[in-house]
């Protein structure tokens, strides 16, 4: 102990006095048998060094594997299934109702985002592939109505003919080339072209009916009376049947009632 201050020097002085007395009396030593035991243990340690246990590394790897696999399984079990972008809104709403609060909030947020995206005018949205099936369905309905004739399509279809026309242009590029070397392909192409031609003709016929159906009952009746004045009685009867089918309870003028079957007057 190096005395660095007067206090330390005084402490050192007292220490030396007491130490002299202490050392005069403290002569205790460990017994020889204890010395021998300690030295023998030290020699044994050097001569037979303990084999380092090598179980740490494999045990650590095993533990890491167990923990890792458990975590993966746990995460996989708790992970919600991936949600499709085309999921109907009803499913979203159902999920929002049945899911826990956190998931419900997530679903609601997603529904709000979808509605905002639909409200926002977007150039890309028109070209989205998930919108095309809807347009194709409308085209198919228009073609079917055209093929069935005016009687079978009494319901007013606004601009359905235009849609059909656009469907033509939409579907035409899908036809295989006529000069294809494959015979079956050319036959198929011809058949498809015929169908397209028929649908084009029937679409032109139905245009008049659709135009008529676009009008109010009064206007439609005016058109029928004009046909009657022109002497097209068969056409008048057909139009009247369609009119009665569309408007079962609308009163017909007396001159037209005579052309309608009695049960439909």
């Amino acid at each position: 102990m190096k005395p660095t201050s007067p206090e330390d020097r005084e402490l050192e002085k007292i220490s030396s006095e007491v130490s002299e007395r202490y050392r005069a009396g403290a002569k205790d030593e460990p017994p020889a048998r204890l010395d021998a035991a300690v030295l023998a243990a030290a020699r044994r340690e050097v001569e037979q060094p303990r084999r380092r246990s090598n179980w740490h590394v494999p045990a650590s790897i095993a533990a890491m594997l167990v923990i890792g696999v458990s975590l993966v399984l746990l995460v996989r079990d708790n992970e919600p299934p991936l949600q499709s972008l085309d999921r109907p809104a009803t499913e979203e709403a159902k999920l929002a109702k049945s899911a826990p609060p956190k998931l419900a909030l997530k679903a609601q947020t997603r529904m709000q985002a979808d509605s905002l995206r639909e409200d926002r005018p977007s150039r890309e949205r028109g070209s989205r592939p998930d919108r095309e099936p809807v347009a194709r369905d409308e085209v198919a309905v228009a073609q079917k109505n055209s093929a069935l004739g005016s009687v079978a399509s009494p319901a007013p279809l606004p601009a359905a003919a235009d849609v059909a026309g656009s469907a033509q242009s939409t579907q035409q590029p899908q036809f295989p080339a006529a000069d294809s070397s494959d015979i079956s392909s050319s036959k198929k192409a011809k058949a498809l072209a015929d169908i397209a031609g028929e649908s084009r003709g029937s679409a032109q016929e139905s245009r008049k009916e659709i135009d008529a159906s676009q009008a109010q009952p009064q206007g439609w009746l005016g058109t029928i009376e004009a046909l009657l004045r022109d002497g097209k009685e068969a056409e008048v009867r057909r139009q009247l049947l369609a009119f009665r089918h569309q408007y079962p309870h609308y009163p017909l003028p007396e001159r037209l009632q005579a052309l309608v079957p009695p049960d439909q007057r």
């Binding site: 007395r21 009396g25 403290a26």
Partner: protein, 199 residues
């Protein structure tokens, strides 16, 4: 009594840390030198604290077994004496945890469990008796010290540790160690003087 071989090696000037490193590397003779240097101090440090010689021997052996066992992990981070008395401190603490209550040395008894303080044979009989009586008084006063002050005094006297090293071993600050040592020395000196006045 220290074997002649151990007494011979204690005069080697090789530092303790170097000896321990050599022992770590497989030199058993280096450990014998190290043991010869510190066996007495460690034994007395333990004996003054636990009181009973049989218990002191048990703790003493435990201390050195710990030192031997830790040889492969030994790194020179402090003086070897600091490391050694740190181990000794922990073993004594463990002893008191296992053995309660504390057994104090009875210096009035001349039985086997008493510190046998022997004076040099060459001294005059009267002188030897006086020294023996004075040392017995000091040891008696030492036994009456609070354990913390007694330990600090023993670390200073037997281990030769500085205040900083004592603070490290006992897990206290330097000022705390210094305060404890000052109180211990004052009480020991007071005890010796009081006994002298009474005599």
């Amino acid at each position: 009594m220290l074997p002649a071989r151990l007494a011979h090696v204690t005069v080697e000037p090789v530092p303790d840390e170097q000896l321990m490193l050599r022992y770590r590397d497989g030199d058993a003779a280096a450990f014998e030198q190290l043991y010869g240097r510190h066996r007495g101090g460690v034994f007395r440090y333990v004996l003054r604290q636990v009181g009973l010689r049989s218990a002191a021997e048990e703790v003493f052996q435990e201390i050195w077994v710990n030192i031997v066992s830790s040889r492969a992990r030994y790194r020179v981070e402090a003086r070897f004496a600091t490391f050694l008395y740190h181990v000794a401190h922990n073993c004594v603490v463990d002893y008191f945890r296992r053995k309660t209550p504390l057994h104090l040395i009875s210096l009035d008894d001349d039985g086997d469990e008493v510190n046998q303080v022997a004076g040099p044979a060459r001294d005059q009989p009267e002188r030897a008796v006086a020294i023996r009586q004075s040392a017995a008084k000091l040891l008696n006063a030492l036994a009456l010290l609070p354990p913390e002050q007694r330990e600090v005094f023993l670390l200073h006297e037997e281990g030769g540790l500085s205040l900083e090293e004592i603070a490290t071993v006992t897990g206290t600050g330097r000022e705390t160690a210094k305060s404890r040592l000052r109180y211990a020395l004052a009480k020991l000196r007071e005890g010796i003087e009081h006994e002298a006045d009474v005599a």
